[in-house]
């Protein structure tokens, strides 16, 4: 698997889009630090961007990479390689290169600003970790969609819809349900609803880490009340892990049965 991972990774590292993505984060990091002049505030602003943007980029890159590398995949399928090796290798290579763009792009400006001496270093690190998690999750989801759809346009459409649903619509539906059922106790429902959306989950994970109660919102507050900060973080972290493992497992299952 490492060979495939390496090829996918270097293939992507040479592509123009990886650089654009990297430069975008680099510019974003510098601008935010320049405008805020405060690492903690910059981290909060960054969080709002990262929880929406990394899923979008992960989805779009995931779906495009799968369809663009179809020929390459077919070439690999005729070699003495296991199918799971090929697909997991490509998946990890892509997710790693996107995560690297994120970590380096944001890491460089913050390092230059002196994040290492600042108290916000762990907050910043957990932000990058969550961003990497979201990348792995959404690339896996996009790969699942691509494996199930031969038609590129359909696959692309479903993938973007999935992102839109989890990033925007889900919260709307959630709020509506809170208003409609306000007479009932909703803390358990809201806890469950959060676990089913990796974007909400990451937001809560970061906010718990940052320890800013004002920004937690209803779900965050019930999360904190129910589990406490430590356990809450552990649970949201484990749920994120599951969000990576389950789609990755489905990639293997789906790839095993597919015709090329």
């Amino acid at each position: 698997m490492l060979k495939i991972l390496k090829y996918s990774f270097f293939d992507l590292m040479r592509s123009r889009w990886s650089y654009i993505y990297f430069l975008f984060y680099l510019a974003l990091g510098f601008v935010l630090l320049f405008l805020n002049n405060d690492v903690s505030k910059a981290v909060i602003t960054l969080m709002n961007i990262i929880v929406v943007l990394t899923p979008l980029i992960g989805t779009v890159f995931g779906i495009m990479y799968y369809y663009n590398s179809r020929e390459f995949t077919e070439l690999l399928l005729a070699q003495p390689l296991k199918r799971s090796t090929i697909f997991l290798g490509q998946y990890t290579g892509l997710s790693l290169s996107l995560s690297l763009s994120l970590v380096l792009g944001l890491g460089i400006p913050f390092l230059m600003y002196g994040i290492l001496e600042s108290a916000a270093i762990w907050n910043f690190a957990s932000l990058l970790l969550t961003g990497a998690f979201l990348t792995f999750i959404f690339v896996a989801l996009a790969y699942n969609i691509a494996l199930s759809n031969e038609n590129k346009i359909k696959g692309f459409g479903y993938a973007v819809l999935l992102w839109l649903f989890l990033a925007v619509i889900y919260d709307g539906l959630f709020l509506i349900s809170l208003i409609v059922f306000e007479e009932y106790p909703l803390d358990k429902f809201s806890l469950a609803a959060t676990v089913f959306n990796p974007i909400d989950l990451s937001r809560i994970l970061i906010l718990l880490k940052l320890d800013i109660s004002a920004l937690l919102g209803y779900t965050g507050a019930s999360f904190k009340k129910f589990f406490g900060t430590g356990l809450g973080m552990f649970i949201s972290f484990s749920a994120l892990m599951l969000w990576v493992i389950l789609p990755a497992w489905r990639i293997v299952v789906k790839a095993r049965k597919k015709d090329f």
Binding site: K3, D11, L75, L76, L77, L81, D259
Partner: protein
């Protein structure tokens, strides 16, 4: 060498293979013929494990190969359409496949044979169809495997390369290898094939030598013999 038992494959509503039984011995050139959509490529891809059959079994060297992958070490495969990652160069691609197979390879000799030296540092996306097919041929023949499977090997080749390809196939045959070829070019098949496997409507319609087929159909030429089978069947 290859035994196929009762192989079925359906794509959506189309039943492509309807119980293929085929026994291919060791050594020699076997041509898989059949009209468009008769399941030639599906059959080849099933042998390679790229298409997952619904029913039936495929054995290579007396071992079932379904859902396995190690057996592909001993197969060289030439895909029908030579599509490669566009942003790799020719030499990078060759290096990559060599790295994956970890077998001794004769790529330098093949690069000379097909005059590919000037293209080595060009990106695959910028090559013409014929040149890409030559790269495809290098990738296929550079390893020394017992079984060689060629899906439409002549596509896009100029006459010089075609002659060199035929010579290469003959050389491989002399080494005692089993070579499976699908092609639509009847003159090519007539010239090189020892045996013909004719697929029709997802089944093996005929298996035997070229002269057997001509005798059976009463025709003097392979092209007419094939046309004769087709018109007899659809009349």
């Amino acid at each position: 060498m290859i035994q196929i038992q009762d192989l079925y494959k359906r794509f959506g509503k189309v039943q492509v293979l309807k119980g293929v039984n085929l026994d291919i011995g060791r050594g020699g050139i076997f041509a898989i013929l059949g009209p468009n959509g008769s399941g030639k490529t599906t059959l080849i891809k099933s042998i390679l494990g790229m298409v997952v059959a619904d029913k039936g079994d495929i054995k290579i060297a007396d071992k079932s190969v379904l859902r396995k992958f190690e057996y592909r070490k001993n197969i060289d495969y030439l895909p029908q359409i030579a599509n490669f990652p566009a942003n790799l160069t020719v030499s990078e691609l060759i290096g990559m496949i060599r790295n994956l197979r970890a077998k001794t390879s004769s790529h330098e000799q093949l690069i000379d044979l097909f005059d590919l030296t000037p293209f080595l540092n060009q990106k695959l996306g910028n090559l013409s169809g014929g040149t890409r097919q030559k790269v495809n041929l290098v990738l296929t023949f550079m390893f020394d495997s017992e079984l060689i499977i060629l899906d439409e090997p002549t596509t896009g080749l100029d006459p010089v390369s075609l002659i060199r390809l035929k010579q290469r196939i003959e050389e491989e045959k002399k080494k005692g290898k089993t070579i499976l070829i699908s092609s639509h070019i009847m003159s090519f098949v007539e010239e090189i094939a020892d045996e013909i496997v004719f697929l029709l409507d997802g089944k093996i319609h005929f298996k035997g030598t070229v002269s057997d087929l001509m005798k059976q159909t009463g025709q003097q030429n392979l092209e007419y013999a094939i046309a004769n089978i087709l018109t007899d069947n659809h009349a």
